[in-house]
């Protein structure tokens, strides 16, 4: 499991780098799916098979398909590809990357003395479901309302 975790983590980081540097949008999307799938494997290695499956189905499946549809509708061809390349100048990257690096360094600094080993025990669908339909039932209802609102507004916005 440990090895699985590190391999999946490496894949996730590399593919995410791919997402943010790719100029071809379809390639970037595939890198993103790869990244999400790798995170799903991380979840699995941490003993959370339920969310791992959801990550694969909902994120990598449904949401990314939505992206794909939109990309198809926008129909961006070679022209956009060239444009993307001109937009990725090094000087535009310096400041944001520096900021993100500082943020990451701060996180690492905070975590420097935090040292707890976890032995992943499987926390499966049963426990999650018991919580979802027990104490968190209100949150579930709210989530459903949020999804409904998202549905309605997406319909409204995408309408011609």
């Amino acid at each position: 499991m440990m090895i699985l975790f590190y391999i999946a983590a490496t894949v996730a980081v590399v593919s995410t780098v791919g997402v943010i540097v790719q100029s071809n949008i379809v390639h970037a999307l595939i890198y993103l799916i790869l990244s999400l799938l790798a995170v799903a494997v991380v979840f699995f290695s941490l003993g959370a098979p339920f969310v791992a499956v959801l990550e694969a189905i909902v994120y990598a499946g449904a949401i990314m398909v939505l992206f794909l549809f939109v990309i198809m509708m926008l129909n961006m061809g070679q022209h956009t590809l060239d444009q993307e390349k001109t937009w990725m100048a090094a000087k535009d990257w310096a400041l944001p990357a520096g900021l993100a690096a500082i943020l990451l360094a701060q996180l690492l600094y905070v975590l420097r003395e935090y040292r707890v080993d976890i032995v992943p025990n499987e926390v499966g669908v049963l426990e999650v479901s018991a919580l979802l339909f027990g104490p968190y039932v209100l949150a579930v209802e709210l989530a459903s309302i949020l999804l409904l609102a998202g549905l309605v507004s997406a319909y409204h916005l995408a309408k011609k």
Partner: protein
């Protein structure tokens, strides 16, 4: 009937309100009826009230209406106080006022703002009655400012001409100087004596203040300041000649017969204070003397018929102040009354002349009007005779009393008397100069003159002629009011004094005759003399007072205003504004509209907050 004294100011006030609220939409006939009728009703009630008051034999009568305001101990009321003094004043105001209103119905008939004119006039009469009937100084001050306002409105009545507006502002600002002094005087009286009810205040002053105490002097001086401003005495006389910019009936009513005598009324009303401050009283006398002489000199040189009358008004009020200073309170009020008669007569007659000549004011462009304007001519003859105090006219009796009282003053009495006699001599010159130039001599002829045919203008002139002739026989019931006065018992003076007093105006008329009628003396030859010429110019400009004030007050003020154009204190706030503004512009620059920029700033903020959290 006495209880109905509140009707007096109410009639004109109602007239004012009905004329104002209809906004000039009423037909002229109705406006005339309301305008003149309200004052006429007021006069009628004044006569009835006076008859009853005099028959009752009481010294005074108070009608309390309501408490105006109540602030702790300070509760001035809307109370009317009637005694001999206010009785005389109220009869003059309503009586002469009614005649002038009647005259105005004819005089102003062609004016487009007929209704506005009568509205202002009625408001003026109401305010003036408030002034003389109020039993406390606050109510008096209300009337005082009310007449000032009306004066301003009426001087600037023909506001299309900017010069008239300028004259109105000048009158308002100059009298404001005096009014401020008076207001401070009121504050002083209230803080020191605890009341502004005139009678209580005078009693308290008598009890608490010693003769010549500094407080009494200060209070008397401050009140004198107000009186000097309103009555156009030195050094605040400069507004009155310019006030002639208004319609002629205004000049007759406000700037000759009533309002300008409010200062005389104020001093007479608070005469106890002046008796407590003998030096101030002496100052009053000398202010009057200086004014009457100065105005006399100036009146001899003017060319504008109304300015001549204006300066003669200043001069005659100077006589009243001289009387007040001499302690001859009732002589002052007596002269006030006779002056109201003959000066109203003169102004109204001048109005007729001006109207018949299509608003020509220069007397040297008139001439030979004796035949064309007989009523105006006889009005001028009688009015000028009264003004010059020829024997048996009304002016003679009052001026006689004043000069005798001045002679009786201990110390500088002789000086005051000589000054007064010289003033009478000048009065003879300038009043008959006017008569000779306008009504005799060659007709200039380039104005087709029309006769003042209408009865509404002729009747007031006739009545005023009678009053100006015979007004001297009226006995003013003032003994009760001024019982505490220094007394004006008949001084036994030699026949010579009387002879001189009678001769002075005749001498003046003679000089005037030689210059302007028989031309024995040539005016041009006199003017050729450089000294005479420069004196003439000096007097013509009113002793250069306007130029002096321009140099002393106006120019430094303008200079200060100019160097402080950028306003020192304001610049501090301007700095605040500019700081805020530049900060706003700086922050507005961060509103680039670029989404990436906003995300970047949010990330930077996040980094900053976390660094703070980590480090602390």
């Amino acid at each position: 009937m006495q209880d109905l004294i509140w009707l007096l100011p109410t009639f004109p006030m109602l007239g004012f309100l009905s004329l104002v609220l209809t906004g000039g939409s009423l037909p002229r006939k109705i406006v005339a009826v309301i305008g003149a009728g309200s004052v006429g009703l007021s006069f009628l009630s004044a006569v009835l009230i006076s008859a009853q008051f005099l028959a009752s034999g009481e010294d005074y009568f108070v009608k309390e209406l309501w408490v105006w305001m109540a602030i702790g101990e300070f509760t001035p009321g809307f109370n009317f106080y009637l005694d001999g003094l206010s009785l005389v004043m109220m009869l003059i105001i309503t009586g002469v006022g009614f005649l002038i209103h009647l005259y105005s119905t004819g005089f102003m008939v062609d004016d487009p703002a007929y209704s506005r004119f009568f509205a202002y006039m009625n408001l003026f009469v109401a305010a003036m009655l408030m002034l003389v009937l109020g039993d406390n100084l606050v109510l008096l001050y209300l009337g005082w400012e009310g007449v000032g306002l009306c004066s301003y409105l009426l001087i600037g009545f023909w506001y299309e001409n900017p010069d008239n507006g300028y004259a109105a502002r000048k009158a308002f600002v100059v009298t404001r100087v005096g009014d401020t002094a008076m207001a401070i005087g009121l504050f002083l009286l209230f803080t020191q004596l605890g009341t502004l009810n005139i009678q209580d205040m005078l009693q308290a002053a008598q009890q608490q203040w010693a003769m010549g105490s500094p407080l009494a002097i200060a209070a008397a001086l401050l009140l004198l300041g107000g009186a000097v401003g309103k009555s156009a005495q030195l050094p605040l006389q400069t507004w009155l000649p310019d006030a002639m910019a208004g319609p002629t009936p205004i000049s007759a009513l406000i700037h000759a017969a009533t309002m300008v005598t409010a200062g005389v009324y104020l001093v007479a009303r608070t005469h106890v204070l002046f008796e407590l401050a003998p030096r101030v009283q002496m100052l009053v006398a000398f202010v009057g003397l200086a004014t009457l002489l100065m105005a006399g000199f100036t009146a001899m040189t003017q060319r504008d018929i109304k300015r001549i009358l204006a300066y003669s008004t200043i001069s005659q009020i100077g006589y009243m102040f001289l009387a007040l200073g001499a302690g001859a309170w009732s002589a002052a009020v007596f002269h006030l009354m006779t002056h109201a008669f003959f000066k109203a007569l003169l102004f109204l007659a001048a109005g007729t002349v001006i109207l018949s000549l299509h608003h020509e004011h220069d007397i040297f462009k008139m001439g030979g009007k004796r035949k064309q304007l007989p009523i105006a001519f006889w009005s001028f003859i009688i009015g000028s005779a009264a003004l010059a105090a020829l024997p048996f006219t009304s002016g003679f009796y009052s001026k006689d009393e004043i000069l005798l009282a001045a002679l009786a003053v201990e110390g500088p009495g002789m000086l005051l008397w000589i000054g007064g006699v010289i003033g009478a001599f000048f009065t003879g010159i300038y009043s008959f100069r006017l008569v000779f130039v306008v009504f005799f001599g060659d007709s200039q002829g380039h104005h087709e003159a029309k006769e003042e045919a209408h009865w509404s203008m002729a009747a007031p002139l006739m009545l005023l002629m009678v009053l100006a002739l015979l007004g001297g026989w009226i006995q003013v019931p003032l003994d009760a009011v001024f019982s505490s006065g220094a007394g004006h018992e008949e001084a036994h003076v030699s026949l010579l004094v009387h002879a001189v007093m009678i001769a002075a105006p005749f001498l003046g008329i003679g000089v005037s005759y030689l210059f302007f009628m028989s031309k024995v003396f040539d005016l041009d030859k006199l003017m050729a003399n450089p000294l005479a010429n420069s004196l003439h110019r000096f007097w013509f400009s009113g002793w250069g007072m306007d130029a002096l004030y321009q140099r002393i007050f106006v120019n430094p003020f303008l200079y200060l205003a100019r160097i402080n154009r950028s306003d020192l204190i304001d610049s501090f706030y301007a700095l605040l504004v500019s700081i805020t503004r530049s900060a706003h512009l700086m922050l507005a620059r961060t509103q680039t509209g670029y989404l990436g920029w906003y995300a970047l700033s949010m990330a930077a903020g996040l980094v900053l907050i976390i660094s703070l959290g980590v480090m602390l």
